[in-house]
Symmetry: C2
Subunit: 310 residues, 2 copies
């Protein structure tokens, strides 16, 4: 069976044919993401699908979107796509227009599914995938299937409280994992330290521009004390969140990916694993692995999701 | 269908007929739990089952034990039953002896299943049940089924880290939920405070005897500052653990039971619910309820587990 996978990003929409078993992808149609609301975005998705598959050889389409997707495929909100501020029943709107069955999921969950089936999560039924980038997202595979939740919140590991009344999170909460381990959280803290007179290489390297993962990596290489402290905090926060979930869900494996992890690599994963005394019965009870940085993971995962859900 | 439910406790073994749909129980055979190891315990279980059902009208037996039960029903350890210190394949040993199919689960998980099917958890598919007693245990129902985990660790909410490097837990970990919310953890802290010169009603009321839930209740009624502080800590720790799981698993409802909750009642549940700012996206996203203190919940839940697993 071949399905169509679509990844709707903040800047571009990409569609490919996907074999949901092998993860092999072929064909490629890309369009910029319209900025004037969901109707235009859905029209663009319909365009890339029809352009990829004008002869309707595939009757199943999986779509990953950077938003909150409920159990029925309704995209409740999509803050990373300009103008998408009302709930949209994507399968209901796009399915009839495309003459194909449409399945919609969160893009991070799609990426987690891809790691499960063709990446570092292969061979286990109970898996957590954690992506550490600007924020921290995740996907939970339980008994071999993605757990997205009725409201689409499942797997939102970035918003676990790891420190009561701790650092403010971008979501308005306090002490969430993302505030410690996400790049934006690290940047907020580094700039606050600099503003308070604690000069550090993170701010020095980035200047007024965004502090990127490569700046973090360089600051660590240079032995910058603030960078080391913030990465220690990030590793500890990840160890608490991951260890807690590994315990309460009895997980076999946890796969780590995302921009920060990709840049800092295995030493960062090892540092998290060494924080073994925190987080439930200890992170050592599960197999912590570096993700495989799969090509077009969002598209492939969207195709896998569609095939799973059919 | 009628099944046999057996609850193996630290002091007694109880067997009843159970209708796994209605939870109705009938018949009752009870024996003291032997203290000389698992072989004697299994023999006693066989005795109560055969005595309850000499005519073999029920061919399915569910057994709840106070230990770690893996996915195959092997009881890895059972620290609350004297002499049970090696893994025992209970279905493998008892099934042929009883001429019945034997399913084994953790007793706390059985209690959670009972709350799900006939108690305060009815009507939802995704449920966490938390029992706050001497320790803190729990059971997770996901998509309508108990999640026990391959190693039987799933649902062990008591050992979630809620405070990094926090109070020592009985398990050897630090900052676990159980250290803050379990009766034994509260007692350890109250006695440490008293030893350090901070006199408190918890220790005054209990004297050299165990601090019971009724002592906690009385100390709170008397407005004792230490008791209030420790119960505030307990509520906060529960709010973090429960809120985190409600977020990452997208839970619909959380039911609270156990000796401490039964004694402190709805005001304690309300206090946890009011700590809404901690724990993931906030505990207000799920419906927090007082459990129903079901009669023979362990026996009924063991019967339900057996029927579910067949």
């Amino acid at each position: 069976m071949t399905v169509i996978g679509v990844d709707v990003g903040g800047t571009k929409i990409l569609a490919r044919f996907v074999d949901p078993v092998t993860g092999a992808a072929s064909g490629r149609v890309k369009k910029p993401t319209p900025k004037d609301g969901p109707a235009s975005v859905l029209a663009a998705v319909a365009d890339v699908v029809d352009e990829l598959d004008p002869d309707r050889t595939a009757d199943l389409v999986g779509i990953g979107v950077p938003g909150l997707v409920d159990g029925a495929g309704v995209v409740a909100r999509c803050p990373n796509i300009s103008g998408w501020d009302t709930p949209v029943d994507v399968p209901g709107e796009l399915g009839p227009r495309l003459g194909r069955t449409v399945v919609v999921g969160n893009d991070v969950n799609c990426g987690a599914l891809a790691e499960h089936r063709i990446g570092a999560g292969q061979g286990v039924d109970d898996l957590l995938v954690v992506f550490v980038g600007t924020g921290v997202g995740g996907g939970l595979i339980l008994d071999g299937s993605l757990r997205a939740g009725d409201r689409g919140i499942a797997g939102e590991i970035g918003h676990l409280t790891v420190v009561a009344d701790g650092r403010p999170c971008g979501c308005g909460g306090d002490g969430h994992l993302e505030a410690y381990a996400g790049r934006a959280g690290i940047e907020r803290e580094a700039r606050a330290r600099a503003a308070a007179g604690e000069r550090n290489a993170l701010v020095d390297l980035a200047g007024d521009a965004t502090i990127k993962s490569r700046h973090i990596d360089k600051a660590l290489e240079a032995g910058d004390a603030v960078a080391e402290e913030l990465i220690d905090d990030a590793a500890m926060a990840l160890a608490i969140g991951i260890g807690n979930l590994a315990t309460v869900l009895d997980l076999e494996r946890v796969v780590l990916g995302g921009g920060v992890v990709d840049k800092l690599g295995q030493p960062f994963v090892d540092q998290i694993a060494q924080s073994a005394h925190v987080g439930g019965f200890g992170i050592e009870m599960c197999d912590l692995r570096l993700g495989q940085r799969l090509d077009d993971a969002g598209v492939v995962g969207a195709g896998i999701l569609a095939a799973d859900r059919r």
